[in-house]
Symmetry: C4
Subunit: 303 residues, 4 copies
């Protein structure tokens, strides 16, 4: 719009955090991919640091301190605030499934997608490790020296998903496919400008979507719906619990890595096909300048 | 306002999702009824797919994973996000009772109402079927080969309402009448422009209304307050549990279909009669352009 | 501002609910007190109809369906939506304590205050009666033919507060004084224009304040903090449970009627004395019209 | 901007609370430090009065009335509303850790920081004392004449944190360091103008951050993450429970006083280093005035 001759009303943003502004001028990263990768790493680290703490407070308290509602609420808020954290840099995916959906929508280059997947997984692994450190005394209290995947003293489920025996891997696949599809479908609803939802509310709404999914489809696997969130901590558990974390349940581990990728693409495009593409063109919001007699006002246009 | 000569401030909406824009240009449905019917179908499908999952996570975990608060929270959010999904197409009724209220308010043609009822019911049926698929392993774990309406292994209540013996059908009727009246009364409060609630907040508030109703009037029947939400899944249960789903409790099944229709109309108009019609005309919001001396500014009107 | 010569930007409100507009033109009540009294009556009726349902779902399900969190959430939302209902007529007090606070702040005439108290109490009584009707079958299931104030089958606490024996009436007085003071203090924070909270968010925030109070000071008496909410349903219980509802606990009944009135005034004015009166004058929000070179623009003022 | 010659659109704030305006004109405190100190004192008093009530309702009801979710919800809302209370005076820190972070960010002078610490601690002490008064009958019911720090009738944990034996003081230090770092990190995200979150939403979001922390890192110590909140009430407990409140757990008491100060600074600056300093300069929001033909409009600039 800079080439137009119209009168622009510019709303300037005052920036008052002067000391941080000085630091900013010295360390500001100009390379978008580098900046965004740092954000995705740090955001996913924070998300898992908080999120694994939530799950540990559930399991290690014998489900007495946190109950399922705290998991739903806590993870929803963790998503919301970590996305606020990165909303103006990478946008806050923290999830290769979200990133692949944006790749297919043409909103993320392939190179960025690949880099995101790597830093998200590393961030998730380190975040879960930090949570393990803060609750190390509690893990010892709960399980003593035991580090097991199943049984009454099992703690591996603090880190990533381990399905019960009665849930087949086929069900697991569709569970992760569907859960991620729901997530990404509503993410696309929220960010579609035609739906007119203010940008400042987006991160909070993303969090509420995850909260909703946890009340509906957490029983099979605990709704990881995020390859980095499941695989990153699982790599950490390999060093604590051994190779069983990968071989468990007929090598289930690849399902929460692969199924969300397909689900995300299905969710994103089902929004477009069923609803998004059919939203009628909206009348633009129009304000009319009127004089005291409530009559439309003529400005000295082209005077 | 296009015929007025005043100066309009048009706020243009930038649309950046280019790839989806290309798809849009190819598949955009111009027929409003067709577009809205597709939205109502898909939205009701999603609502029940999520909502039945919520109820199943309550029942099939023996009320240990989800407790009643998760049901309230989850259904509230499911309503909110499914309405966001369709807010710019059909508006997101998903409920023949809401549609009939809008019919009587003159906001929905009769033809549209009838079509909505059909697609809402079909969407609800298919959504509950999809939820059944995702939790099929859990149903088997919970009930084995049993498919019963009552008893400790009963699972039919995952789909639709089955009143306890001590609740009479008369009570059931008034329960559904009142619950739906509360819902539609507050829907009318929220959408009344005189109340000045921003449109982007409407779907979230609708969800909170349903959350509230679930904390107050869920004990008799589980607050279906929606003919499509109850009848659609009930048709599915006919093929799983047999004809008892209709004959149960002296053919109770018609009550959550009919009572909400009356309740919705009563709720909508009671708002108008008790409050809405009496809201005083509001002074318009006025902004005054002033100069540096804080004096009102004259623009070169009619120059 | 109508006498100023400045250029006004009027944002007109489109009203589209045409059928309700026709009704409005016929039944619109122009007398402000009559209109507001009708709103206060209807709003308090709805508040108690929903709110007593919430408490009944807690007590009559043996605290298994609703737990305390559902009470907090449900009552908070009931407050929020009932205030939305009446936000443009009476403002939605539903509580003589709130009304007396506004009386002392000079925002409500004495005559209106007295009328409000009466209609609020009647609305509360009738609302609780309606809730009793909807849960009549459940009361019978829970208590059989018993209608008692104390004991394992007591149901009188569904309607209004009955303190436990170990809580003295002095404690009760201060509990109701303090709870109502907290409520009204934060109501004054929310509505103080200097705090810049958008009007459309006020009702929701009022509800969250009540939710907060319920998590902190519900254990002594169940946070009635509202003379109409406690006295109205108590009058109903007189006809069900007998005169014990008044004589119980050394004629406790007057405490939740009188203590909130003092608490409300204390809360309202403590905000002014501790914080409100000391808020510095805010710089007005200023937007500067600039040209393409980002230079301040001169309009043809006084041309 | 007052020296610019541009045309300003001033949005004037109408102030209608006339009676409070009269009081204001008489008692308005002009000294910023005095005014802010009064706000910090009163706000911290209210926060602890409510917050200790929440914890007491949890402990004294044997965790049956309040469960952990009520603690999370209640404390989150208490933070939110107490910050709203002081948002236009001191800003509502109530926490020396938040204040020290702002000190290092250059947003709070050292003198103010020191005064804040003192009044916050006094306010916290008195607030907890007031809560003790309101629940005095319940403490007696729960514990009889016992006033103990540990054991089944222990009530000292109503006031401040007392770690279990299996949690080492090293873990305690990092728990408080990390919890406060998370708090302050997200506070900095919320208030960074580059993130575009409306000021009226800040207090609510602060509350949600604390809610989130409580679902993740409450198991070790109950998330005090605030030196004033822990030390103030602990001083009160000295007079009730004796010197054990300080010597307990190898003189643990200094950890929730000191660790949050370091955590807060780490959290604040990690936001800047990882994300804040790298946010790209945003294009300013631009509105273009157009005429009826949708062409940019020329105003009579520099006429």
């Amino acid at each position: 719009m800079s080439s137009q001759q119209g009168v622009a009303i510019n709303v300037r943003m005052a920036v008052e955090l002067e000391r941080t502004e000085q630091v900013r001028s010295k360390i500001h990263i100009k390379n978008p991919l580098l900046r965004n990768a740092l954000s995705e790493f740090f955001g996913t680290f924070m998300l898992l640091f908080i999120g694994i703490g939530i799950v540990m407070q559930f399991i290690l308290s014998n489900e007495k301190l946190n109950t399922w509602i705290n998991i739903n609420l806590g993870w929803g808020l963790a998503i919301a605030f970590c996305v606020y954290l990165c909303s103006k840099t990478s946008g806050g995916h923290f999830n290769p499934a979200v990133s692949i959906a944006f790749l297919t929508l043409g909103k993320l280059p392939l190179k960025d997608f690949l880099v995101y997947c790597v830093v998200q997984t590393i961030g998730a692994a380190l975040g879960s490790l930090a949570a393990f450190g803060l609750y190390y005394d509690q893990v010892n209290k709960f399980a003593g020296a035991y580090r097991t995947i199943i049984g009454s003293k099992a703690t591996a489920a603090c880190f990533c998903s381990f399905p019960a025996f009665h849930v087949s891997n086929t069900t697991c696949f569709f569970d992760q496919f569907a859960g991620t599809a729901i997530l990404v479908l509503f993410v696309c609803v929220i960010i579609d400008k035609r739906n007119g939802i203010p940008a400042a509310a987006h991160p909070l709404l993303f969090g509420l979507v995850v909260m909703m999914i946890g009340t509906a489809y957490g029983m099979n696997l605990g709704y990881p719906i995020n390859p980095a969130r499941d695989l990153g901590p699982r790599i950490v558990t390999f060093f604590i619990y051994g190779s069983g974390v990968f071989s468990y349940h007929s090598y289930y581990f690849w399902i929460p890595v692969i199924a969300p990728l397909f689900g995300a693409v299905a969710g994103a495009w089902s929004y477009t096909f069923f609803v998004g593409a059919h939203i009628p063109e909206q009348r633009e919001t129009t304000y009319v300048l009127v004089d005291e007699a409530n009559q439309p006002l003529k400005l000295a246009a082209d005077a």
